[in-house]
């Protein structure tokens, strides 16, 4: 899509900081790089600014200081490279599945025939062709989320931002959609930034997991996930998977413990800070 050199990272956080009004700092000096085709998950205790970070990347929430570059562009300029998947499927209930999936292309002003062909392709890719004429209310939660994914992929994004997309689903549906997401990534090759509360989901999907600490929100740990691709049901049963989950959980617990200590008015002990995996 772009002719820029491959060296330009998909996302470049350069001391990105977020402050609401004169209140406390939500995110403090976030610096990191996400390379193209990486699948990076962000986890952390509630209130650490995970969702805010995602909205900043999308250009939906202004950056107070520092910067975020997406393929070398500002978030607003990069919007056509980005698709956002929300926690709810956010489907328009008065539109059929097909009309929902076409929404992005329609708003982008694509000609009717071109967009119809694209929608047909993405519907069959996600396995939704048979419900194209249905309305959202006729679909289960898992199906609605697949429609939401199809709508996001229809515009052929370079970068996919996902804000706890599977949080409201049952575990089996969630596992299936996780595998589905990786399959789609193989076919379409986008970069993903994925916010979740689930450690096992983060480990299963990601090439890297960023663990955020709260008050102020900052990157506490940056963990590489070295499990081989393709990841399938057998990945979940492997010992390496269990080990990685344990490692990430430990790091997350240390961050959460520190957060609780701060909330209780106690100072953050060095012990709690370093109890987990290696700091970033």
């Amino acid at each position: 899509m772009t002719t820029r050199p491959i060296a330009v990272p998909a996302i470049d956080f350069d001391r990105a900081t977020k402050r609401y009004g004169t209140g406390a700092t939500t995110l403090e000096s976030i610096s990191s790089q996400v390379q193209r085709r990486e699948f990076v998950s962000i986890i952390g205790p509630s209130g650490c600014g995970k969702s805010t970070l995602l909205k900043m990347v999308a250009g939906l929430s202004p950056i107070t200081s520092g910067g975020i570059a997406i393929h070398g562009m500002t978030p607003q300029k990069a919007r056509e490279l980005i698709s956002f998947i929300f926690q709810d499927a956010t489907l328009l209930p008065w539109r059929t599945i097909r009309q929902n999936v076409v929404l992005g292309l329609e708003l982008d002003g694509m000609a009717r025939e071109t967009r119809n062909a694209k929608v047909d392709a993405v519907l069959s890719l996600v396995g939704l062709s048979h419900v194209a004429g249905s309305f959202p209310r006729q679909l289960s939660g898992g199906m609605k989320m697949r429609v939401s994914i199809a709508r996001a992929l229809a515009t052929r994004p370079q970068l996919l931002l996902l804000d706890e997309p599977f949080a409201a689903l049952d575990e089996m549906t969630r596992d299936r959609l996780n595998e589905e997401l990786l399959r789609l990534r193989d076919e379409q090759s986008w970069t993903a930034l994925f916010v979740t509360h689930s450690v096992s989901e983060a480990v299963f999907l990601s090439t890297r997991v960023l663990i955020l600490a709260p008050n102020p929100g900052r990157i506490a740990h940056d963990v590489s996930i070295d499990l081989p691709f393709p990841r399938t049901e057998s990945t979940r049963r492997s010992e390496a998977f269990e080990r990685t989950i344990a490692q990430v959980s430990r790091a997350l617990r240390s961050v959460s413990a520190a957060a609780v200590a701060t909330e209780n008015g106690a100072s953050i002990s060095d012990e709690a800070r370093t109890a987990g995996a290696h700091p970033a």
Binding site: A58, L60, F84, F86, Q87, D88, P93, L107, D108, P136
Partner: protein, 263 residues
């Protein structure tokens, strides 16, 4: 189908029972027709004075429908302004509530004073009482759109007009219909109330409200009953017309309209 038949039979039975009760009361208490006419007398009044009854009905229907439609158009425009400009909403919304609380019987004499009697005054009175529920419900529908949905549109650099036409307006349709449904019920009441004050510019010719006053002054109790019957029919048909439109436009996707679907 069997259930529908049963409902129909029970409805007819209840109707018959009520007629019987009505007739019995007249027999037992030996009431004169000017106090309580028998069902047969009312039926006779309906048939004998059918042309003037229909004329009154149509006049009232015209005022009620005119007022309701005008309130729908004006209310929708006001709601759009309220939704697009929060500062206008904050400034003027309290007056919408004022509009709802002022009793129409208090305003009617003023309108009569300014505009004189006739269809225009009655329509205006209907318009005034229909306006508030339409503004309130439509505004609520327009502004209660999920933040994430708006963000979704913003991600595609959608214009304000696109957000309005493709998101806010369709989202507000169920609320708009709720407002119109409430307004349709009070439109007929409003028109008849208006006609009590300003029903006719010519003696002997006027809507249901005017005819009710005239008939009661003349002690034509049987015709009075016929007029009440006509008013009820009118109210019902307004309400069901709106219900049908609501079902027709929303049943494919909206929960509230599906209730009728499942009956």
């Amino acid at each position: 189908m069997k259930r529908l038949g049963l409902t129909l039979i029970s409805a007819i039975a209840i109707f018959g029972g009520l007629l019987l009760l009505w007739q019995s009361i007249i027999w037992i208490f030996a009431l004169p027709p000017y106090l309580l006419p028998s069902p047969a007398r009312v039926a006779h009044a309906v048939i004998a004075r059918f042309p003037s009854l229909v004329a009154s009905l149509l006049l009232t229907a015209a005022a009620a429908a005119g007022g309701l439609l005008a309130a729908l158009l004006v209310g929708l425009v006001i709601a759009l302004f309220f939704a697009q400009f929060p500062w206008i909403r904050r400034m003027l919304y309290p007056y919408t509530i004022l509009l709802q609380t002022v009793p129409i019987v208090a305003i009617a004499p003023m309108i009569l004073l300014w505009m004189g009697p006739g269809l225009g005054s009655v329509t205006l009175i209907t318009f005034i009482i229909c306006l508030a529920p339409i503004i309130a419900n439509t505004t609520q529908g327009l502004i209660s759109v999920d933040r994430n949905m708006v963000d979704l549109f913003l991600m595609h650099n959608a214009s304000r007009a696109q957000v309005l036409l493709k998101l806010r307006l369709p989202h507000a349709m169920p609320s708009l219909f709720t407002g119109v449904r409430i307004a349709s019920g009070i439109a007929v009441i409003g028109a008849i109330t208006g006609e009590l004050f300003a029903g006719s510019s010519r003696v002997g010719v006027g809507g249901i409200g005017y005819a009710i006053q005239y008939a009661s002054a003349q002690l034509e109790t049987d015709y009075l009953f016929a007029l009440v019957l006509a008013a009820t029919v009118l109210g019902f048909s307004f309400f069901f017309t709106v219900m049908f439109l609501e079902w027709y436009f929303l049943h494919s996707w909206h929960e509230s309209a599906r209730v009728i679907d499942q009956e």
